[in-house]
């Protein structure tokens, strides 16, 4: 099937896309913080129904979250580099 609309997709990835991704992640974290300010003492909907996530207290979880993101980025790098054309 031919595409007559003239759709184009570039091969190169702009560096600024990473900035957008980081900005999106930071925004998500800010919204989580805002939730706890607006509704103090209230659990997150759905997530907090799980026993583990409901009692996530202490700053260590922020650090573990960072390490988990790092591990996933290593796995993602392995996969993308191995399958890169």
């Amino acid at each position: 099937m031919t595409n007559d609309d003239g759709f184009l997709q570039g091969e190169n990835e702009p560096g600024a896309s990473k900035v957008v991704l980081v900005g999106a992640l930071v925004s998500a974290l800010i919204f989580m913080v805002v939730y706890s300010i607006l509704y103090p003492g209230q659990d997150y909907p759905v997530l907090s129904d799980f026993e583990t996530f409901g009692s996530l207290t202490g700053g260590i979880w922020f650090f573990i979250l960072g390490a988990v993101l790092g591990m996933f980025s290593i796995i993602a790098t392995m996969i993308t580099e191995a399958t890169r054309e």
Binding site: E51, T52, F53, G54, S55, L56, T57, G58, I60, F63, I64, G66, A67, G70, M71, S73, I74, T77, M78, E81, A82, R84
Partner: protein, 554 residues
């Protein structure tokens, strides 16, 4: 005769017999042993050996890549152990999934992942690259070397599980991990011995360090089991020390000396100091590490004994530990001077790997002195500063052994993989993060432990808020070591695919390369080098005259 001295004597005798056998061979059995060895490494494994490729360098590459991953995991568990030491219920929410770790189990897991996973795999991986190069031959079986790396990693994983839950379904998990470890290391030893058997010249000193380091684990097992030292607290402590002096110190010395010479482009500074390092590593007791032998008991599934040395034994081990300053200082000085190579401004000072090695050898002597105090305190039964032992132990791992082994991996990465790291700037960022995290984080932790110890001695029951805050700050800062290891892993993984290929004009760190240098007047070698000249630059003297000028003759 004391058990300590008997065990040491058996260890030294094994080393001597090995040295003789390497020179003399196995007489009429040499050919049979070689054929049998090769059969065990490849054909005996059946179709399993076809799972991996046998390209040159594939074995070393598999080991060093996994070592970086284990170092990251080791750093994460160590960080969690430090955190739970001041907030014991921080991970309590995981108990809903049946996982409820304590500070001690996390610290033990971090220790196992860092020492057995990260450091050991880095040393073995570098050894698989270095030994064939030094001996002018190729590795006996690249395919077996690569395959065994995954077996070894499986053993480390089992050990990590065992350090959390030692008994699962009535099986001692740590013993299973030890069994896999011994099996994998036996394969590596056979592989390296067959490589030595096909050498074309004499064995250089760094090769002896690596070879004896590999064999020291076997000597330690023979000595500990044959004398029964493995069953009591003093013997377990001694076996821990022999593993530290033998495998870890000797292997580390061989790998670091080779890497510092290769990465800096300078010749090894002193052969005499290498000899002092070799003999010192074999005949002294290195004080780095824990001040008890509980780990040995756990690994072999036996009861940990209490330490209670006689005065004679105390004198012997204290003397041997103090004597360990000779190989430590010799290695430190030799490595530093090799890297500098007579150039006071430092040759290639910012090369990936060299900075980590520089950091490790600088931290080695102060950490050695601290470890020596902690060990003599423990063997004499005084236990006055045992409260500092955990932090000093972590310093010996994260400020000395990890930078040295990781630095060697990074320095040899281009030679092993055939490519440069993906990003030099990312490697530099990771170095600064790691050095800051290790130095500042562990120093704060040490200060916190010292405050707690002083309050305990003074009989003060209320905990100090300052000590708690320092412990919190120490654990948070140590987290940057985890971030640094993630960056190193990303850099190494990406480098395998996208790093500049070696041999395409990318070996030199500087982008300035002058083919010729016109020498018009007297100048220093340093000034020539800083102008962009390299070792292959041709210096061309340009004639000049102070005579008055005149019209050009046509």
């Amino acid at each position: 005769m004391s058990e300590i001295f008997t065990t040491l004597a058996v260890f030294w005798l094994c080393a001597f017999v090995f040295y003789v056998l390497v020179h003399r061979g196995l007489w009429i059995f040499s050919d049979v042993a070689r054929t049998m060895g090769m059969f065990m490494l490849e054909k005996a494994l059946g179709p399993g050996i076809d799972l991996v490729e046998g390209r040159t360098g594939s074995a070393a590459r598999a080991w060093i890549m996994q070592s970086a991953l284990w170092l990251m995991i080791g750093g994460l568990f160590t960080f969690e152990g430090m955190w739970l030491a001041h907030e014991p219920t921080a991970l309590h929410s995981l108990s809903a999934w049946g996982y409820d770790p304590t500070a001690d189990t996390l610290a033990a897991t971090g220790k196992a992942a860092t020492a057995f996973g990260g450091i050991t795999m880095a040393l073995v991986g570098c050894g698989l690259h270095i030994l064939p190069n030094l001996l002018g031959t190729s590795l006996a079986s690249e395919r077996n070397g690569a395959l065994v790396s995954f077996l070894y990693s499986g053993g480390v994983f089992v050990t990590l599980v065992g350090s959390h839950d030692p008994l699962i379904l009535g099986v001692k998990v740590m013993v299973v991990g030890t069994g896999i470890h011994v099996l994998a290391m036996t394969a590596v030893v056979i592989n390296q011995l067959l490589t030595v058997a096909s050498r074309v010249g004499s064995i250089p000193m760094p090769a002896w360090l690596i070879l004896l380091g590999l064999m020291a684990e076997s000597f330690n097992l023979i000595a500990g089991i044959s004398t029964g030292a493995i069953n009591d607290g003093d013997g377990q402590w001694l076996m821990y020390r022999l593993q530290g002096s033998g495998f870890f110190f000797l292997s580390l010395a061989g790998v670091v000396l080779y890497a510092s010479s290769v990465a800096s482009g300078n010749a090894l500074w002193s052969r005499t100091l290498v000899g002092a390092t070799l003999l010192g590593g074999l005949f002294t007791l290195n004080p780095f590490g824990a001040n008890h032998g509980t780990l040995v008991a756990d690994l072999f599934g036996i009861d940990a004994g209490e330490m209670g040395m006689s005065s004679n034994d105390t004198v012997i081990v204290t003397f041997l530990m103090a004597l360990a300053s000779v190989p430590v200082i010799a290695l430190s000085a030799n490595t530093m001077l090799t890297m500098r190579g007579g150039n006071s401004s430092g040759a290639n000072p910012s090369g990936a790997g060299l900075v980590e090695i520089n950091f490790g050898v600088m931290a080695m002597i102060p950490v050695f002195i601290g470890s020596l105090f902690v060990q003599t305190d423990a063997v004499s039964g005084t236990d006055a500063i045992s409260g500092l032992s955990w932090t000093i132990e972590e310093m010996s791992r994260w400020a000395v052994m990890v930078p040295l082994s990781l630095g060697s991996v990074l320095a040899l990465y281009p030679s092993i993989t055939g490519r440069q790291l993906a990003s030099a700037s990312r490697a530099r960022t990771a170095f600064w993060l790691m050095s800051g995290a290790v130095l500042l984080g562990l120093m704060l932790n040490l200060t916190s432990s010292a405050i707690d110890m002083a309050l305990l001695d003074a009989g003060v029951e209320d905990p100090s808020s300052l000590s708690h805050e320092l412990a919190v700050a120490g654990s948070v800062i140590f987290y940057f070591a985890v971030v640094a290891m993630i960056l190193h892993c990303l850099n190494m993984v990406s480098g395998l695919f996208r790093g500049d290929i070696i041999g395409e004009g990318t070996e030199v760190a500087s982008s300035i390369e002058a083919d010729t240098y016109n020498l018009a007047s007297a100048t220093t070698v340093s000034r020539i080098l800083t102008s962009g000249a390299g070792m292959d630059t041709v210096v061309v003297p340009v004639g000049e005259s102070d005579e008055k000028g005149s019209a050009t003759d046509l």
